[in-house]
């Protein structure tokens, strides 16, 4: 219990201290910025408050796209890792393809997806899916194959079938890695969804709000959208953390 309080308290205290310094103008002084270049927190909050219903709606659009895309992308990534494990000889090439996808910038992916999908949502999901595949494939593959010494020998000594080895040894072994991948993908999926919205055929979403307002010098409004994105990212991250705690209680990282 004490730990849980600490978990929340420490980052919160740090955040409040930082926000206070920012509000009082120290951050601006250190970085030599003017308030109209980077608005102060209170201004951001006021702007956000005045625009709350629309911001929440936009947040919903972006997050649902990011979430669906992350799930599809992670699922594909995991499948590829599994295939690469079952057929080490042939499946390994799949990982390399994934890498190639990962090196295509979102700025190029978005217009390509625009060609295939006419709605902003489908385009977003397409982009996020591709962005999220690699982290999961790499991590899951590493988890499925970095087994503890002798564990394989043990399995062989009891003449376990491949399926049993997979279910009892490999799958649990890769769970921590899967969660690591999710942690990376939470951040990646939201930012990918945001950037894809810069180019989407729609005017909804956090990305549109950020781009439109920052370009038009509505800094407070633009940053209020960035704040919403950050809060959403941390919230989803916490959900992943709680899930991790329940699913892999046995793992060293959870003790």
């Amino acid at each position: 219990m004490m730990n849980k309080v600490k978990n929340i308290l420490w980052p919160l205290l740090f955040g409040i201290a930082f926000l206070a310094l920012w509000q009082m103008g120290y951050v601006h002084k250190v970085l030599d910025l003017k308030p109209f270049q980077l608005p102060v927190p209170l201004e951001i909050v006021q702007t956000l408050h005045a625009n709350l219903p629309k911001a929440i709606k936009d947040c919903g659009v972006t997050l649902s796209g990011a979430f669906i895309g992350m799930m599809i992308g992670s699922a594909i990534g995991f499948m590829i890792a599994v295939i690469a494990t079952i057929f080490p000889k042939w499946g390994y090439g799949g990982l390399i393809i994934i890498t190639a996808f990962n090196a295509m910038p979102i700025v190029a992916l978005s217009p390509i997806m625009n060609l295939y999908f006419s709605t902003g949502m489908a385009q977003k999901i397409g982009v996020v899916t591709i962005v999220c595949m690699a982290a999961m494939a790499m991590n899951a593959y590493s988890g499925l194959n970095t087994l503890k010494p002798y564990s394989m020998d043990l399995m062989h000594s009891v003449a376990a079938e491949r399926w049993v080895i997979f279910k009892k040894l490999r799958l649990p072994n890769c769970m921590p890695n899967v969660f690591t991948a999710f942690k990376i993908n939470v951040a990646a999926s939201i930012i990918a969804a945001i950037i894809s919205e810069y180019f989407a055929t729609s005017t909804a979403g956090l990305g549109f709000g950020i781009k439109d307002n920052l370009r038009k010098a509505e800094m407070a409004m633009g940053w209020s959208y960035i704040v919403v994105a950050s809060l959403a990212g941390v919230l989803i991250y916490i959900v992943i953390l709680l899930l991790e705690r329940n699913v892999i209680k046995w793992h060293a990282s959870q003790r």
Partner: protein, 263 residues
Amino acid sequence: MTISKHERRLVTAVWLVGILAFWEIMAFILKYVVKSEMASVKLPFLHTIFITMFQNAGMLLEASAVTFSRALLGFAIGAVIGVVLAILMSLSKTLERIAFPYLIISQMIPVLGLAPIIFNIVRDMNLSRIIIAAYITFFPVSVNMLSGLKSVDQEKKELLYAIAASKFNVYRKLMLPYAMPYLFTGLKIAAPMAVTASILVDMLGSKSGIGVKMLYSLYSSSMDIFWASVITSAILGIVSYYLVINAEHFFLPWQSGKEGETA
């Protein structure tokens, strides 16, 4: 589970041919079966892209060199920052608690909002570009490294402490070696990301680089050059990935054996 070198080459070749064939078939279907008017833009034939790449080889190579060198620099700086942050966070639970949510937040700030602030601080475009590339790259390295450091069995740590090993030695002898496979997984994710990041910063008013070619060709509807640069960026990603794999084979030879490959 060991696969001979010869076999590996064969597998790679089969994959390569398979992908080429798959792409060509899809392009064929799009053009002649679905009869999409935009077929040459949506999914041009791979061989036409290769012809474009060949015709513009000099330009693309030059651009690749700029982008790749910047990616390498961004990757190196990002990886070091990522590892250092992970070690610091593993040393102090408090620091981890403080830092991690903010690391996530840091990844939520898009370049459009971040770049003016970095420019304002650094006032040098080139340095700013490298900083931004590193900023995008460090996150997966940090996350993977940290989860590696945290995965060390408590018993082992206690054992070492019990024989009066110093914290430094525990890290050197146990924690860091243990976290290495995790680190390399992080690096494998980060390497192509560094290429992406480098392409992104190319677009921040640079005069050369794959990103510039991509943006220019996209905006001027030169879709052949656009696709050629997209494929080039994918190849750069694969090259960066292979570099990490090679480094892993070298530094962690025992690890590579388990991945169905032997050096």
